[in-house]
């Protein structure tokens, strides 16, 4: 498996650390209802198909990346940096 890092280019998956769903990007406000925090922390879809998850380019530029991929075909459809990258075309 290879991931095309927006900063470093196509790299072997061994350079990356897998975190989990991109739900982690949508942090509830501090005083949100417990249900919102429950969803944020625990409730996950397990799609057969397109999913978007977070990878950390541990052995590279240390960017956190949102990777859109298909769990059935293993195709990687899109890789974006979680933080806006200066000068990058997204």
């Amino acid at each position: 498996m290879r991931i095309t890092c927006p900063l470093c280019g196509p790299r072997d998956r061994r350079e990356f650390y897998y975190y989990g769903t991109d739900d982690y990007l949508n942090r509830p406000v501090a005083d949100a209802a417990p249900a919102a925090w429950d969803d944020y922390l625990h409730n996950r879809d397990n799609p057969a198909g397109v999913t978007r998850d977070l990878w950390y380019h541990d052995m590279g530029c240390t960017s956190w990346l949102a990777v859109t991929r298909n769990t059935v075909t293993h195709a990687i459809l899109k890789v974006e940096a979680v933080a806006p990258v200066k000068g990058a075309t997204q």
Binding site: R2, D12, Y17, T62
Partner: protein, 971 residues
């Protein structure tokens, strides 16, 4: 026997080799298989289950019978295929699975018992009593059934792994592969041409035909010369592509030193990961045996193998050859055999309507109903449409048609497609993204088609990469149509018809499987073990499937196929794990003080990837405990020095640095004055404690964070995530400086006195202060922090000064009655003070559990705050950090129970995380988590460790055992 003038071997370079103790001679260019056949050796092994005498079936890596042990001194490599092993001078090999000898094998008796040993026999027979399995049945069966033996020593040979990248990977170098490589190479693409064989050319080396009006081998030489001259082509002989993985990643196994006499300067094998933008699969096709009674005797081989032995190695393994075939292809082999001056006894064509015109007898509608010859074929019984006859023959060549080598196209879940016209499976379209099958592996069997396909596949692959490739002129070549009539087994014949030679599976076994309702092909495979041998069913899958289809009354496509998985050929674990043995298993991180510590005899222990001194033994000390006690005493009464550089150090800068720290720590750092240090607690978003450590404010917008050794990487990743995901617009940047600084703890009542001897001024640093100091001309940082409970400092210098400073600190400490202390003492010191490590904050404890709930600031949000406040994560019903005192040895990992309670899971009150003998307090101390523990100080509790037979009554206490007020700390 050798045929003069035939073969691409170097007859001027004879090679001596031994097989089963007998010395033979072969030539440079031989495989062990061709050299054995040239010497008249037909019997090469005993079969897996019935110990039947077996000879070579093939001339390639799919060989099911010719597996031998290659001996190298006291070591040997089992299950080496003689057809793959190149001959070298002095090669020593022996046959497998026989006792006492290949010609007389005691367990050949299994063959006589075969009516009782059919598929499923073991499952049905050895069912009781249960205890007999492990002790009796399994060892006996294992000994009887098996192939090579293991050496039972470590494999000390060298292996390598390597990575390669290319625009186009061409797998196989037959006509399709060569043409693909040539087309791409001329267009300027980066090409890797991987060939399993030692020589490139594939079937052109062994077909004895012509390409472009010249001998095939000469055309191959011409193409190779051109490819070798191009800088954008990498040719990899002896390299088998073994697997396909996502995104154009291919695994390949290269035989680096296996074709040479063992030598120490070469690895045996190299495991490659090749990343290819596109690939052309030109893996060819494998011929199928014909299934008839007694089709496994030595001397019975594939027609393609016979052709290869004749044309490539100049060997014909018989004097009267017979052919049996269901297609036209074998006819050409028969003609070549006759042209070489060897007698062809007959051609048996299973088809009723085929040409009977050859320079030898041809029998149509032929069946073989039996064979004779115990250690080698002597005769066959034939029925044909004109009658019956016996043919004296010592070599029978079979062609049951061809199976395209589709294997790796199935590695990403692709299912091959059945084609009736060729009675075989071909790869499904786009089975592997970016891979185009060409030539025989795509079901186009003629040489002309392979050449054309190869060129077209390369051009199409490159066009997807935006490279325009001109198709080279295609040379003229053999273009015969492939005419076949499926023939899967010999109907109505008596005797066993072998499907899987390697695992001794017959047509009867497949029928039995279906009869017992294992009708799915995957079930049949597991019931009969067909396809589960080292050849992975390459010689038997399609025929076994056809037999299963027949007995279950289904068509072949409906019956399906089994799954082809990597690797394509047996791959040694040594190659896949190259470099990962012993110290290669994980990186090693060494402190700057490493040598100085070892010089003092300190045993080093692993702390993550780091190596840290356990203790520093003094003369006369017999146990680590004695040394540890002395070191603890030394720190408590004089001064000790310890290397603490393994702690993670993260330099944080920017206008929003303070704000950022307030967000990731539960407590507040924006209020910390410059020049001060604060202890901080970090949570995960789910409310559990992530890490703790001290962070110093070096300037208005400059902090230095310290993490624990264990969580240094974890915290860095966490900070990166929080920053990039939630506050990327904040003005804050950070970087790990762990390896930039060597840092030493100086602890004890004489710590200040020690520093006074080396600094230009006596440090007047308050507890939790930080300041820049100068050591000679070196700028250093001095922190006043303590992990021992004593007046403590940590001094940090750029790493290159670490060793010098450590040795200097030890020398100064020793003049003050102090010295170095190791991890054992460090651990006791911190337990006495109730300081936590990751033994306590192990991922399931909250700030509340460790008594730090007041550190979660009410005035601001922070990571983990919301979740930490959830019901269930706070409250007295949780297990809380306590100290334990005991008068007998206790252990970490022990569990706690009320005295008098029955000891079982439901009455479990908690568990012990850290333990140490405190010489200071003259008792055993522990940190533990205990239900409602904070309210139970003074109670007693029963500590039980069943693994170590420990059952001790302990006193529950405050986790801070020593100097509760911190007077020493602040002195």
């Amino acid at each position: 026997m050798r045929i003069e003038g035939k073969g691409h071997i170097d007859r001027s370079k004879p090679l001596r080799f031994r097989f089963d103790g007998v010395e033979y001679t072969g030539f440079t260019g031989d495989t062990l298989a061709s050299a054995l056949l040239a010497n008249g050796v037909k019997l090469v092994g005993r079969s897996f289950k019935y110990h039947r005498p077996r000879g070579l079936l093939t001339a390639g890596s799919e060989e099911p019978n010719g597996m031998v042990e290659v001996v190298d001194g006291n070591h040997h490599t089992p299950n080496v295929r003689a057809t793959v092993q190149e001959l070298y001078d002095g090669l020593t090999a022996r046959s497998q699975n026989r006792f006492p000898s290949l010609k007389f094998d005691v367990l050949g008796v299994n063959d006589l018992l075969s009516p009782f040993l059919s598929a499923g026999f073991y499952y049905k027979t050895f069912t009781w009593p249960r205890a007999f399995w492990e002790k009796l049945y399994e060892p006996v069966i294992r000994r009887a059934a098996g192939l090579g033996t293991l050496v039972a020593q470590h494999d000390e040979a060298a292996y390598e792994k390597a990575f390669a990248f290319c625009d186009l990977l061409v797998i196989g170098s037959g006509p399709a592969g060569l043409m693909a490589a040539l087309t791409a190479a001329r267009a300027g693409a980066d090409v890797i041409l991987a060939e399993e064989d030692a020589r490139l050319g594939g079937r052109l080396l062994s077909d004895g035909g012509q390409v472009g009006g010249q001998a095939s081998v000469d055309w191959v030489a011409e193409v190779l010369a051109e490819l070798k001259a191009l800088p954008n082509v990498r040719i990899m002989p002896r390299t088998t592509v073994t697997g396909v993985y996502d995104d154009g990643t291919y695994s390949a196994l290269e035989r680096v030193g296996l074709h040479l006499a063992p030598r120490t300067d070469l690895p045996r094998e190299c495991f490659w990961r090749i990343v290819a933008k596109r690939s052309v699969l030109a893996a060819g096709a494998l011929e199928r045996p014909v299934v008839f009674p007694g089709n496994d005797r030595p001397g019975i081989m594939l027609a393609s193998a016979l052709r290869a032995y004749l044309n490539r190695w100049g060997v014909v393994p018989g004097k009267r050859i017979t052919f049996i075939a269901n297609n036209d292809g074998a006819r050409e082999v028969a003609r070549q055999i006759m042209a070489a001056g060897v007698k062809v006894a007959a051609i048996l064509d299973t088809r009723e309507n085929a040409s009977a015109v050859e320079d030898c007898p041809v029998y149509l509608g032929a069946r073989i109903t039996g064979t004779k010859g115990r250690l080698g074929l002597t005769s066959i019984e034939v029925a044909h449409k004109g009658g019956k006859l016996t043919i004296e023959t010592d070599c029978l060549a079979m062609s049951g048609g061809w199976n395209p080598t589709v294997h790796i196209t199935c590695h990403l879940n692709g299912r091959p497609i059945w084609r009736d016209d060729i009675a075989g499976f071909v790869p499904a379209a786009n089975a592997v993204p970016g891979l185009i099958p060409a030539g025989a592996c795509a079901g186009d069997f003629s040489t002309a088609a392979a050449l054309a396909n190869g060129a077209a596949a390369a051009a199409e692959s490159l066009s997807a990469l935006g490279i325009i490739a001109a198709t080279p002129d295609l040379p003229s070549a053999e273009n015969a149509p492939y005419v076949i009539e499926a023939f899967w087994q010999t109907p109505g014949a008596e005797g066993r018809q072998w499907l899987d030679f390697a695992n001794d599976v017959t047509t009867k076994d497949v029928a039995l499987s279906a009869q017992e309702n294992f009708r799915s092909v995957e079930h049949m495979k597991r019931y009969t073990t067909q396809g589960m041998a080292p050849d992975q069913g390459k010689n038997s899958n399609v025929a076994a499937l056809a037999v299963l289809a027949d007995v279950t009354g289904r068509a072949i496509p409906e019956t399906g196929t089994t799954t082809f998985r990597p690797p394509f050929v047996p791959t040694s674990i040594g190659a896949m794990g190259a470099g990962g043995k012993a110290q290669g298993f994980a990186p090693q991180r060494f402190l700057t003080s490493d040598q100085a510590s070892r010089d003092r005899g300190a045993p080093m222990i692993e702390a993550g990837l780091w190596y840290r001194p356990s203790y520093f033994p003094k003369p006369g000390e017999k146990t680590w405990q004695e040394s540890c006690n002395r070191e603890v005493r030394m720190v408590r009464t004089a001064v000790g020095v310890a290397d603490v550089s393994t702690l993670g150090k993260i330099d944080i800068q920017g206008k929003d640095a303070a704000r950022f720290l307030d967000f990731v720590y539960t407590n507040t750092f924006s209020t910390l004055p410059a020049g001060k240090v604060r202890y901080g607690l970090m949570l995960r978003e789910d409310g559990m404690v992530l890490d703790d450590g001290t962070t110093a404010r070096l300037g208005e917008h400059h902090y230095l964070m310290t993490t624990t050794t264990a969580a240094a990487g974890l915290v860095m990743r966490h900070l990166d995530f929080v920053h990039q995901a939630f506050c990327a617009d904040w003005d804050v940047r950070f970087i790990s400086v762990t390896e930039a600084w060597a840092q030493f703890a100086i602890a004890g009542p004489r710590a200040r006195a020690l520093l006074a001897t080396m600094l230009d001024r006596t440090p007047d640093l308050p507890f939790m202060g930080v300041t820049d100091v100068t050591l000679g001309s070196v700028k250093a940082r001095l922190f006043r922090i303590s992990f021992s409970g004593e007046e403590g400092y940590e001094i940090a210098v750029p790493t290159r000064y670490g060793e010098a400073l450590f040795r200097d600190l030890l020398a100064r400490a020793e003049t003050l009655g102090g010295g170095p202390y190791g991890m054992e003492a460090l651990n006791v010191l911190r337990i006495e003070k109730g300081f936590i490590t990751h033994a306590e904050i192990h991922g399931r404890v909250t700030a509340y559990d460790i008594g730090m709930e007041k550190m979660v600031s009410a005035k601001k949000d922070c990571i983990g705050k919301a979740a930490a406040a959830r019901p269930g994560l706070v409250g007295d019903e949780r297990q809380q950090l306590v100290g334990l005192r005991a008068q007998a040895p206790i252990t970490a990992g022990a569990h706690l129970f009320r005295a008098g309670d029955r000891v079982h899971r439901e009455t479990d009150q908690g568990y012990v995380t850290s333990v140490g003998w405190s010489d200071t307090l003259n008792c055993w101390l522990a940190l533990a988590f205990l239900e409602k523990g904070r309210a139970r100080h003074g109670e007693t509790i029963r500590l039980i460790d069943h693994l170590r037979d420990i059952d001790v009554i302990c006193e529950v206490a405050d986790p801070v055992f020593f100097d509760k007020e911190g007077a020493k700390l602040r002195a």
